[in-house]
Symmetry: C2
């Protein structure tokens, strides 16, 4: 177990765990800057959540300050509890709108001693999406299974491992972990064979593994450094729907002649299409994003896989959840925060979901700044 104040950085918590031979698995790409409190507020995920689960799966206790000023201590240092309502889980993922989580107790697990990763290239994005399904049906349980499309590869080109051929329409990064190095490498080799790409590179050292992950991890940072106008999204669909969703991204990008590099936690069906736009394309962002949200819901997915609804996507919540469910959310909000003082204008729809949603955001929500991730600002 670890006890952490809400402001503890995710990566620092995991580093502390590592010093004891333990691991805190949920690892958002922002783990070096994001806090545990924020992770709990959005039930954050990350590449390794495929195998190890989300933030909510690790929280066993919390201190939460309620709107009436009272302080609740929920849960504790035990892994199992079937005693009364799971109040704690109502605060997880509620984006600070029901109470303010100030401290959490999280489960830790034994840290695997060895990791191995490979990058596998595909001629088409459809081939890559099919490979994801094939691997997940093979009996292997990868520690991570990430996908990058051609647009994303172009952005991070200089960070790709030396010798990896450029020009693929998609690559998959697959990782395995475990306590026996030989076994981890063997499993990885089997998974690479099942993925069956046209090119692959298996990391032969820890440095090479870092190299493979570099391209994926620094995708967002490179966009910021290039001072691009960026609108980064975060949807999820059932695994079987990844090919269709990716196809719809491509059709949207082509129709609007806009660049849409995409990275994905493919094993979770969690896709991050990223609109990179010129100034004169700014008016396209709202309509394209709205279409992506509608498509995700139509395919049985969600408008937010790991970043919350915030102000940005609140109006799309009704598409996904329906008015009846949101009615129950409102009743819960009324119970815990009747005066509406906790993180107002978040989560709950305030107007109809349409392509003008960006223009309708309240004044305090920064409008599509240059070189920043819009969704991270607004959520």
């Amino acid at each position: 177990m670890a006890v952490a104040g809400a402001g503890v950085i995710n990566g620092d918590l995991d580093a502390g765990a590592a010093a004891e031979g333990l691991m805190y698995p949920p690892d958002p790409a922002s783990k070096m800057i994001s806090t545990i409190g924020g992770n709990v507020a959005c039930n954050s995920g990350g590449p390794h959540c495929l195998k190890y689960g989300l933030t909510a799966d690790y929280v066993v206790g919390m201190t939460v300050v309620l709107a009436d000023g009272s302080v609740l201590e929920l849960g504790g240092r035990i892994r199992k509890r079937s005693s009364g309502y799971r109040l704690m889980h109502l605060f997880i993922g509620s984006e600070g709108t029901l109470g303010i989580v100030t401290r959490v107790i999280v489960k830790l697990i034994p840290r695997p001693r060895h990791h191995a990763a490979a990058m596998v290239g595909f001629e088409t994005i459809e081939d890559a999406a099919a490979a994801v399904r094939r691997l997940l049906q093979s009996g292997h349980f990868p520690a991570a299974l990430e996908l990058m499309n051609q647009g994303a590869l172009e952005i991070v080109g200089r960070l790709l491992p030396a010798g990896f051929k450029p020009g693929h329409e998609a690559v998959i990064i697959v990782e395995q972990d475990g306590n026996d190095r030989e076994q981890v490498l063997l499993q990885l080799a089997e998974m690479v064979e099942i993925l069956d790409g046209v090119d692959n590179r298996v990391a032969q050292s820890e440095a090479e593994r870092e190299g493979i992950w570099n391209a994926r991890r620094h995708f967002g940072r490179v966009l910021v450094e290039q001072r691009k106008n960026v609108f980064s999204e975060d949807i999820a669909v059932p695994i079987a729907m990844i090919p269709e969703m990716v196809h719809r991204f491509q059709a949207l990008a082509e129709k609007h002649r806009i660049s849409m590099p995409t990275v994905a936690h493919a094993g979770d069906g969690n896709l991050h299409p990223t609109l990179v736009f010129e100034e004169d394309q700014r008016h396209l962002v709202g309509p394209i994003a709205a279409q992506i949200f509608r498509d995700a819901v139509e395919l049985g997915g969600t408008v937010s896989a790991e970043h919350g609804l915030g102000a940005l996507k609140r109006d799309f919540a009704a598409l996904e959840h329906g008015e009846a469910e949101i009615g129950w959310w409102r009743r819960l909000k009324e119970v815990f925060d009747p005066a509406g003082i906790l993180n107002p204008h978040k989560v709950f729809p305030e107007q109809a979901a349409d392509e003008h949603f960006l223009d309708q955001l309240p004044g305090w929500a920064v409008k599509l700044p240059s070189g920043r991730h819009r969704s991270e600002v607004a959520t």
Copy 2:
């Protein structure tokens, strides 16, 4: 993913998953008779929840009928969702008091191809408890880590693996799983060495592994067959507190001259002390159980690890959670079931927690029947 009506038997769901090379990990000892709906109502665990997590960690969607007669569809076939309140998780573990779950969608994971188990004997229960901590700190991540004390071993004596010496004060069953047989056996051997018992038996075949588990799994059944008067409990404490809790069990048993065989999901700190009593000891059951509940809470634990509060333990909820937290439960109950028609007289305390709690149970709660598990009847 699997979609299951609430009445589907846990073991049948897992067998269906197995046919596809998949696994539904939460495995209560009652998996061949308990339903998924019941598992969701109590957020059930089981031996393999140490490595794989509890019922709540696998539920991604549900249909729930509310007290007002409306039907909500929550979640769906995706593994990640950070979109709005986690309403679903309020129904999980609420024992049918907030809504009636009629259907669930659960995550499945790749089924490990190989399992290996060993039984390790200890001279003292303290040695066994220390071994549990040592193993969990070693970097190994066992698939299951179960403990039985001397009293439990005497009950299942004839089911112990042939050749395993009787008379130990405790045994630990340790299991590992994975896709490579040699590696699984190697890890198991390392874990047996770390456990460092005075006797051990590593299963050399699937039949021998079944043999090792037989003793553990049929503990409850043997008690029923022997038509003993039984009161079986279900508490959890932090791992570090297992030795102290076990010490208190022994002191209680000696003080009252009562038999208290104990089985435990030791890796989760979840202990099942079982009072086996003669007719003239019936009056001791309430006071002993009440003391166990108080001890568990005092050591940072819970009065119910995996079976819910029901009517039996409802009055002890306040010891564990405090009046403030239970006040919030009452407000939630008021929101979802204002007329109190859903599973009344469960979960919420109705009178002071004291040693007479068994006498104060309402008439419909069967009173300590012979040869049945009292806690399973009442919860």
